[in-house]
Amino acid sequence: MTTITMRVNGKDVSAPAEGNTLLVNFLREDLKLTGTHVGCDTSQCGACVVHVNGVAVKSCTMFAEDAAGAEVSTIEGMANADGSLGTIQQAFQDYHGLQCGFCTPGMVMIAADLLRSNPTPSEQEIRDHLEGNICRCTGYHNIVKAIQAASGQDVSAVAAE
């Protein structure tokens, strides 16, 4: 066991962990940040996406030790300071971008990753960026629409399929 320290959502945290502890298990089990989900555990679904030093990663496919000393953001850090929903989260609610909600933490994190480098993405750019995030419920249409709306683009003409 070694003690792993990192900065998660702006707070310094540390906990002891085994060498084979995955970042997602460190977040969920040691730090009790259970907003980040495990959908597949085989690197396919993206439910576990968090940001490490400013870029999206699948936290089920990274060891906690490799994130030691890093700046990590999770879905728990996406709300506004007063606890109200952040812009992307609010857009998911407004445009019905979720049904069961299991994929949503990863979807919001990958959306935030896209909007940081591309503030007004096209529909195709959004779909390309969601390639590693799987949703079993929505059919993606409203997720794409929510992300477009969160980026400040007019989605009133986008059909509600």
Partner: protein, 262 residues
Amino acid sequence: MYAFDFVKAASVEEAVSALASGEAQALGGGQTLIPTLKARLADPGTLISLAHIDSLKFVRAGDGMVEIGGGTTHATVAAETAQTYPGLADLAGRIGDPSVRNRGTIGGSLANNDPSACYPAAALGSGATIVTNSREIAADDFFEGMFATSLEEGEIVTAVKFPIPEKSHYEKMAQPASRFPLVAVFVAKFADGVRVAVTGASNDGVFRWAEAEKALSADFSVAAVQELKHSDDDMIADLHGTAAYRAHLIGVMTRRAVAQMV
């Protein structure tokens, strides 16, 4: 996963000496090795993480070459070779998905030599040189069949040197679930000839299609390869496609690649 010790190497020298101790294995971006460890298909006593070795992370261009550090992520290659070697940048930018590209490295991909991986096609198709902690290996000598390379036990890919072609294009038929190529072809046109590398198709892993290279070197046009057919001997056959289908795709992907370049 089995239990193992985790060591973060600070330098190539440190990693090489840690790897010399037998039971240890190198960890690059982990995008292949971590799923393998979860499936208990590997049981290293110690994992040596290369992710914190700064000297393995660079992209340098000059003298008609691009040199890329072995620990450079796919996302960085896609961003930093866009001007100097757009065919390579495009290939790197379509590996897997954005989160995979932020972790996976070129050294890990080449060392793994998955028969369906993208980078081996670029390395072989460009006539690249693979640089390790102890020597330089021409791509033509590096790939030795499915998941096999000429790397010795504990040898680390520290860099890859790509000669920049006049033009290049990577045409990938992505398997829709995994995003890996079902079959993909990298075509590179140099002043002294054309190289054509095929991935995803053969039980022997990445290979050069000699007939297409000859035809395209004589006449760089779609017509030159219009009638060429690759044999289906020893092609991969699985639930995603038969050997004959893969052999057919080699021709189709080659023609599509050339069509993008003329």
